[in-house]
Symmetry: C2
Subunit: 204 residues, 2 copies
DNA sequence: GCGAGGCGTTAATGAGCGCTAACGTGTTAA
DNA sequence: TTAACACGTTAGCGCTCATTAACGCCTCGC
């Protein structure tokens, strides 16, 4: 229900904030369940209590709505990643903070996780490039951190490992999140940590 | 390019095999790139060199095509999982074989991985239930194996861990698979192994 | 030789969709 | 008071799409 206040808070008069965010939140849920093409403008309007074309008072079009959503997600993740990367010197501390951040996001906003990688292809070229750039930059934070921990790791391997960690941490939409939030978070954190630090050549 | 011969080889006269499989293979690629609703029957026909409604000679409809594809994937995975589970007594051996099997599939057929979890929602209720059941059964193989290795693991945790491992191993479509097939496979295998066996309470 | 059926074609139908147009209403500011 | 504007409404346009209809080959078994 409650989205992070940062995400999707674009420019605009103060009075429109609420409705815009309501639409974005509901759109994320519907897109996550039925896919971008599986949700019509009419569905979207009905879900927020208005009907159909009223959405054009808030967004120039359906694709623009998706664009704002996905760009908001990527910017949020990148900002969080940069913040964590700058907050500590020890790369192992940074990695732990990055994992915490990602698992927290994945548990709090599973719909956004789903939409982000499923409907990226439905974006017009310009915003798609923007999202891809933001995502790449975010991944690079993880890659750099991994290679500071283990300098023998090639960039290729580090990138594959980072994507693997995202897949692991972003598996929350698949497992239903029945257990207690904190327990699931701890479990996923330990798994990701083991997966990423198990990369170092074994001592034994 | 080359799909596992088992997948999608349904019943039918020998002469139709080739075309049906060609359609299924091409459909997987297009669905993976553009999503089920983003690919029209005309696109699909064009991609195999025929035009439009010719597909109705081989499938009763677009959704039926998707159904056959997804059911084929789930059956293939389940069969492979059952085979590995029966091939060894030591649960650690079984787990290693399961990981091998999954990573091999994920590297060989990344499009199927993508379509399976993205377009499950576009299936009619009946085949969707079937796919879900097959998937659940496959997951249970992993859950059982994990709990045989570590009896203190609760079913809930084991299920979350299994889904996490799938997310990790199925991350291949995101990382582009540039490196050598064998190296990537080894890396993902080590990560999954570390993530899943790191669940045991540490000895130290 | 010939009927049956596998496999393809083009044309048409009907539904759903994104989006625009035209219009109504309440609040706000000069 | 009234003009501007934010925010809704319903109709309708134009397009795409899945599906069906009607028809034409080519290749068999007889």
């Amino acid at each position: 229900m409650a989205a992070s206040p940062e995400i999707g808070a674009g420019a605009g008069p103060a009075g429109t904030r609420s409705r815009r965010e309501q639409i974005l939140t509901v759109a994320a849920q519907l897109f996550a369940r039925h896919g971008f093409h599986g949700v019509s403008i009419a569905d979207l309007g009905a879900a927020v209590g208005v009907s159909g074309p009223a959405l054009y008072r808030h967004f120039p079009g359906k694709e623009a709505l998706l664009a704002e959503m996905l760009i908001g997600i990527s910017e949020h993740l990148l900002a969080g990643g940069q913040e964590r990367a700058a907050a500590a010197d020890d790369p192992r501390e940074v990695l732990a903070a990055l994992i915490d951040f990602q698992v927290d996001f994945a548990l709090r906003e599973p719909e956004l996780i789903v939409v982000q990688d499923r409907d990226l292809a439905n974006l017009p070229p310009a915003p798609r490039r923007r999202v891809r750039l933001l995502q790449r930059t975010y991944v690079e934070i993880w890659v750099d951190t991994l290679r500071r921990i283990n300098p023998e790791l090639t960039p290729e391997s580090a990138r594959i490992a980072a994507h693997g960690a995202f897949g692991l941490l972003n598996s929350t939409p698949h497992s239903g999140t029945r257990g207690s939030r904190a327990e699931v978070a701890a479990l996923l954190h330990r798994m990701a940590w083991a997966a990423l630090t198990g990369l170092a050549p074994r001592a034994g």
